[in-house]
């Protein structure tokens, strides 16, 4: 499986709990789950509307908090936050799925917070163009 190029963009889909009032991104958007594999979507190849479709799919369990947007940052920027790395992790219905990996052990949560703060500060917020899923 090929490595994700440094300049490839990675998207993390966001809802209201991930955003501050000024629409800046909170660090909890990049805190890893217990598996220590943070899901992101690669989109260097111009996925366009299909990218938002994937976002709505991620948020399908949310009834009251619709998709607000996404946090974009490059794979190279993720790797600057050492020791993190971004690796392909295709799943059945999403060939563009990837993981941010190499998080410190679970008990060192303060390191997770420091890394998540760095990623959230580096990421760019892109607002979702629609307030409801298409079709």
């Amino acid at each position: 499986m090929s490595e994700i190029p440094h300049d490839e963009q990675l998207a993390r889909f966001l809802h209201s709990e991930h955003l501050r009032a000024d629409k800046s991104i909170k660090p909890n958007a990049f805190m890893p789950p217990k598996s220590l594999e943070l899901s992101v979507t690669c989109h260097a190849d111009g996925l366009g509307p299909d990218l938002w479709h994937r976002g709505w799919k991620v948020m399908k369990t949310m009834n009251k908090c619709p998709l607000r947007g996404r946090a974009d940052l490059s794979a190279g920027r993720v790797r600057q936050a050492r020791p993190l790395d971004a690796v392909p992790a295709p799943i059945d219905d999403d060939a563009h799925h990837a993981h941010v990996v190499n998080w410190p052990p679970l008990e060192q949560k303060h390191l997770h917070k420091a890394l998540a703060l760095e990623l959230s500060t580096a990421a760019t917020f892109v607002e979702c163009p629609t307030s409801a899923p298409p079709g």
Binding site: F13, H15, S16, E17, H18, R20, S24, K26, P27, N28, M31, P32, P33, K34, S39, V58, M59, K60, T61, M62, K64, C65, K109, H110, L111, H112, K113, A114, A116, L117, T121
Partner: protein, 161 residues
């Protein structure tokens, strides 16, 4: 919001730090706690907005998968510790905003800008994990919550807020 969660948020201050003995001592403690709780919940003097946010996140993060990526529902234990921590945040210190981490722990944030921000996660076990940016400096670490607001974290609050 579940009844248990409502009870947790509303009854969090019970048993906070009394050392009184005898009927009179207990009465004074109860009255003092009532006044302190009232002040703490006001917007102008205390941290009323944060109390409201705690109740809000119970509603929005109260079920597994609340973030779309499989996050754990907000932890009642973390919520209890978070409320006790808020109660001992000195009155007059800027109130934090509230987030929830994917592991269900409550997180307090003091945010002025991207270069002046402090985030503190409240562990169900009473550990406080924090990370901050203060200008070019970066800070992170863990402190136990022993019933008073940890000095290290309070110093960071005063630097970023």
């Amino acid at each position: 919001m579940t009844p248990i969660m409502v009870a947790t948020v509303s009854g969090l201050l019970a048993g906070t730090g009394s050392s009184a003995t005898g009927t009179d001592g207990l009465f004074v403690d109860e009255q003092t706690a009532e006044v302190a709780e009232g002040l703490s919940r006001t917007e102008s003097v205390g941290h009323g907005s944060t109390w409201l946010e705690l109740e809000r996140v119970v509603g929005s993060c109260g079920h597994d998968g609340w973030d779309g990526y499989g996050a754990t529902a907000i932890s009642g234990y973390s919520l209890t510790v978070a409320a006790r921590l808020l109660f001992v945040l000195p009155i007059g210190v800027t109130a934090p905003t509230v987030s929830v981490d994917p592991d269900g722990e409550v997180s307090y944030e003091w945010y002025t800008s991207a270069s002046r921000v402090l985030s503190v996660s409240v562990g169900a076990d009473g550990m406080l994990h924090y990370a901050a940016r203060v200008g070019a400096s970066r800070h992170h670490g863990a402190e136990p919550f022993l019933g008073h607001f940890p000095t290290v974290i309070l110093d960071l609050v005063r630097k970023v807020a």
